[in-house]
């Protein structure tokens, strides 16, 4: 009985986490290059204890980064670039290299190409300076007044590794990353990738999370009711 209460509580906690993930997706519905997190509830397999019946397994939420393409928006800005297909731009931060799909770049005071977080964007493994009129070609090459200035580093995390988020539209690849082959790279200048959050999907997920939360609460109430009956009715001494 106590176990049922415990399971219900855990189920509620899981749905609460899902709702938090959905709230964050919705808050970032207009964040450029944002990739939504899709929650998945998982049941940890029972660490079978010999001689005991199966009981509530530990529930947990996992979140996967959706790599679906976000909508492209024309901005007309020569330094706005959108990545088509998989891959990330590489940004150098004091904490090490970070990945991003937010291609709204700008030039710093000394002509350095900067990400919206203010950190330098990496091209050919180093930072890049532009003194003249910048333009970006579909293969990610940068031109400085028509002169070749380098090629944007475009990478992807190694297969099977997840990305970690650090805010500022930056992602960390703790499992390492590799260069995307040149023939698979497609960059569109003058356009920007929006957030890949689908409001409809998030609303449906939110309703589901809420109803599951309610159901788990009802289960907790039922367990509580059974306990009450047990306490009040069973073993009552009648005069």
């Amino acid at each position: 009985m106590i176990k049922a209460l415990h399971s219900s509580g855990q189920a509620m906690l899981v749905q609460q986490r899902r709702h938090e993930l959905i709230a964050n997706n919705l808050a970032n519905a207009n964040t450029p290059g944002f990739q939504k997190l899709i929650s998945r509830v998982e049941q940890a397999p029972l660490a079978a204890v010999p001689g005991q019946t199966a009981r509530s397994a530990g529930l947990s939420v996992s979140a996967l980064t959706s790599t679906a393409q976000g909508p492209l928006e024309s901005t007309g800005n020569a330094l706005d670039v959108a990545l088509m297909g998989e891959g990330y731009f590489l940004v150098e931060t004091p904490d090490g290299p970070r990945l991003t799909r937010d291609g709204g770049f700008a030039l710093g005071p000394d002509g350095e190409l900067l990400h919206s977080s203010g950190h330098p964007v990496l091209a050919d493994g180093g930072s890049l300076r532009i003194d003249g009129q910048p333009s970006i070609l579909p293969d990610g090459s940068l031109l400085d007044s028509g002169r070749a200035a380098g090629r944007l580093s475009i990478v992807r995390p190694l297969a099977g590794t997840e990305l970690r988020r650090g805010g500022d539209n930056l992602l960390e690849a703790p499992g390492g990353y590799e260069e995307v082959p040149l023939e698979e790279v497609s960059v569109q200048a003058g356009r920007r990738e929006g957030s890949n959050v689908e409001p409809l999907e998030e609303m449906v997920a939110m309703i589901r999370a809420f109803r599951s939360y309610e159901m788990a609460q009802k289960a907790a109430q039922a367990a509580d009711e059974l306990l009450r009956v047990a306490v009040e009715r069973v073993g009552v001494l009648r005069a």
């Binding site: 609460q16 919705l26 450029p32 940890a44 660490a47 947990s60 979140a63 709204g104 005071p109 939110m206």
Partner: protein
Amino acid sequence: MMRAMSTSASGMRAQQLYVDTIANNLANVNTTAFKAARAEFQDLLYQTIAPNQRQAAAAGIQPVQIGHGVRLAAVRRDFGQGSTMVTGNALDLAITGDGFFRVELPDGSYAYTRDGSFSLDGEGSLVTAGGMRVAPGFSFPETATEVGVQRDGRILVRSDGEQESSELGSLEVYRFANPAGLRAVGSNLYAETEASGQATLGEPGQDGLGTVESGLLEMSNVSVVEEMVRLIEAQRAYELNSKAIQTAEDMLGVTSQIKR
């Protein structure tokens, strides 16, 4: 639950700022040489919630990262060319390119503008619509009857009784390495910042600086349709975030009802 509420609140705040910039763009749709601005966002920090040791070991469950919403990263200005309007006034000037006129502020410092609706003040100086002197400073003779501005910025004046017009001086046209870094100071003026880089004097018509066109004014580059679409987008996103807050509140209500 409280986290979901503050996450969604940050989303609503962000959309509000988005609407603020759209409203300002729309308010300036007929402002000479106005450049549309756009709010840009970044996600906030994430908290990593690790599963307990036993679960992680048993199932290889990854820690889940839960975000805390969104924040304003910057308001960027689009310095794209606005459309031009014919006015026929010789002292209405438009720059067809990246250049800026330099004006002298009353405190002696300089600001830059693309609004070329110039006129003469009582002393015969060329001034902006706001009364600031246009660099390098011109004094038109009182006897001037005909004024012309060449595409390379030279100002020609013909005085009463003269056959030929004479050159009064040349307008200075400046450019910036990164115009998006300029700071708007109001009255259609921009100030140089560290991010914009130093203003460099250019030659009109060279290197994309643009020529000076007399009798034309540059209109704002605000696209009303685009702004309306963004307004709808912002409003719906605002609503969605408020729904997430409502849901969080309902969940809190459900929680408090566990115990009857």
